[in-house]
Symmetry: C2
């Protein structure tokens, strides 16, 4: 049995993975804008509480940002948990737990999970995309997870430019898929829409995708148009990823996938529209099998590889 | 010694590769719009002429389009040589030459060449881009050439969308890098420029990059602005490829690289501009070592692999 930890923006999710199953799971509130160290004491405590009652062979941590899994370092991070860059995870893990420990980027961990234990089982070419506050991604090509020269291959799918005259992204570029459509960029997109002032979105307590999709499906015109726009932006971004990696399957994950019935059919149709260069066989677009725990399964896989090496 | 054949749009280039050197090379005119079969008799004749005088261990062919190297098939092709799709290359090769024979996409063959014999030697992560009539590409990630589910991983870098409101591409999409800036799209871009009517480009016999760069460097305002625009389009497209594949080096090749002094410094500066997620180390942008024969060296590498397997 292993303990997987997924460092999300609002929750830190802990799960015990035993064989092919989640034995137990819990979460603690994340104070991500205060940084990682603000969460450290509570997280260490929680882990030790779980260890007291369970026989754990290893711990895995999935975090946002650019991760060097060999040296257990976070090299860069965009917004939240900014103090993870430079934080000595190795020392913390050794001193606090003295157990086999792995670290991986969260989107990559989630794709490992879906590829080894989920909907992508037996795929040789598969792209994973996490639609949430930002957009994470990872890619398996020819049966191998892409890593790259600086550990970012496959990981920055949300930061490929699809509209050079588009919205300014938090990375500094313009028109990244993530700037064109993600939870952080949605409020500005809605408020900038010409029909916003006549829309029920004005009364919404939160300008998130859940409310957007609900109002769109009720016929609110502004919500319908923004929904259509967002689906188109994701489709264009995901099409670019398919052009880059040539997958047989795209696996979607993340908080926004609560609305997967509105999202998956649209994207699947859109990215499979014929072009002169498109392959005969359709690319499948699938919901992750383990929406909340894909990363935990992925961390289990990585721990097993790491234990085999030793 | 092996014979490499590079099926270009205007010339079919044949070269004998011996060790690390080109022993001899020649070319025949390509009637690419008439298709491959229109060239077949002359090509077969030329190959046999070369065989009579040289001891050849194998033949390699690099073509545009989507190539299945295992089954010696061209699965799709965009414009020229359209009859290559469905043409039985295996039978032709066996019946005409009875020699070990390999087939690969031209951009991938060129990157194999530069990676194994050229400027990319010892790189583990490298992207190759051929700027010409269209834009070809290929990618080596973690020490392996990407192939993908339908043989297109890395190959369609010219068909990633960088401007969703951009120019219609010959693939059917809008705003692909290739539509935004390549030899086939350049005349329309120039003619659509507001200052074209005052420009010396109006008197040019050919609206190609050579004339564009020459006039731009002489101070022609329209030429300067179109040049700047094209450099920016390539930079955005190549930046997307770097985001996708995380290379340490980008290798540029193709006819347009006659103007490499105007192109490489611009792209290298542009793609290395800091973003919040960019790595510390710069991505090198390099001219191919073997501009005209990279693909031939790549075919030699592939023949050697294929002979080892047998």
């Amino acid at each position: 049995m292993i303990l997987g930890i997924d460092l999300g923006g609002t929750k830190i999710k802990l799960a015990l993975v035993n064989g092919n199953e989640i034995q137990a799971s819990t979460s603690i509130d994340a104070h991500s804008h205060k940084g990682f160290t603000a969460n450290l004491e509570r997280l260490t405590l929680e882990i030790n509480k779980i260890r007291e009652k369970n026989d754990i062979m290893g711990i895995g941590l999935a975090t946002p940002g650019v991760v060097d899994p060999e040296n257990l370092k976070i090299l860069a991070i965009n917004e939240k948990y900014s103090d993870l860059v430079g934080f000595n995870i190795k020392s913390w893990a050794e001193e606090s737990f003295n157990l086999p420990f792995v670290l991986e980027n969260d989107a990559r961990a989630a794709l490992y999970g879906e590829w080894q234990y989920g909907i992508g089982l037996n795929c040789k070419n598969v792209v994973g995309i996490t639609l949430g506050t930002g957009i994470g991604s990872a890619a398996v090509v020819d049966g191998r997870m892409l890593i790259g020269n600086k550990f970012i291959a496959g990981n920055l799918g949300g930061h490929m430019v699809i509209d050079r005259n588009g919205i300014k992204c938090n990375c500094g570029k313009f028109g990244c898929m993530e700037a064109q459509s993600s939870t952080w960029s949605l409020p500005e997109i809605i408020k900038g829409h010409s029909k916003y002032k006549f829309s029920k979105l004005k009364e919404a307590n939160l300008l998130d995708f859940k409310n957007l999709f609900t109002l769109a499906n009720e016929g609110d015109e502004c919500a319908r148009e923004v929904k259509e726009y967002c689906l188109e932006m994701w489709s264009l971004g995901i099409l670019n990823l398919c052009v880059a990696y040539d997958p047989e399957m795209v696996i979607l994950n993340g908080g926004i996938m609560a609305s997967h019935r509105d999202i998956i059919p649209y994207i699947e149709e859109r990215i499979n529209r014929k072009t002169k260069l498109s392959p005969e066989e359709k690319i499948q677009v699938k919901l992750a099998k383990n929406i909340d725990t894909a990363a935990h399964f992925g961390l289990k896989h990585l721990l097993e590889i790491s234990l085999t090496k030793k």
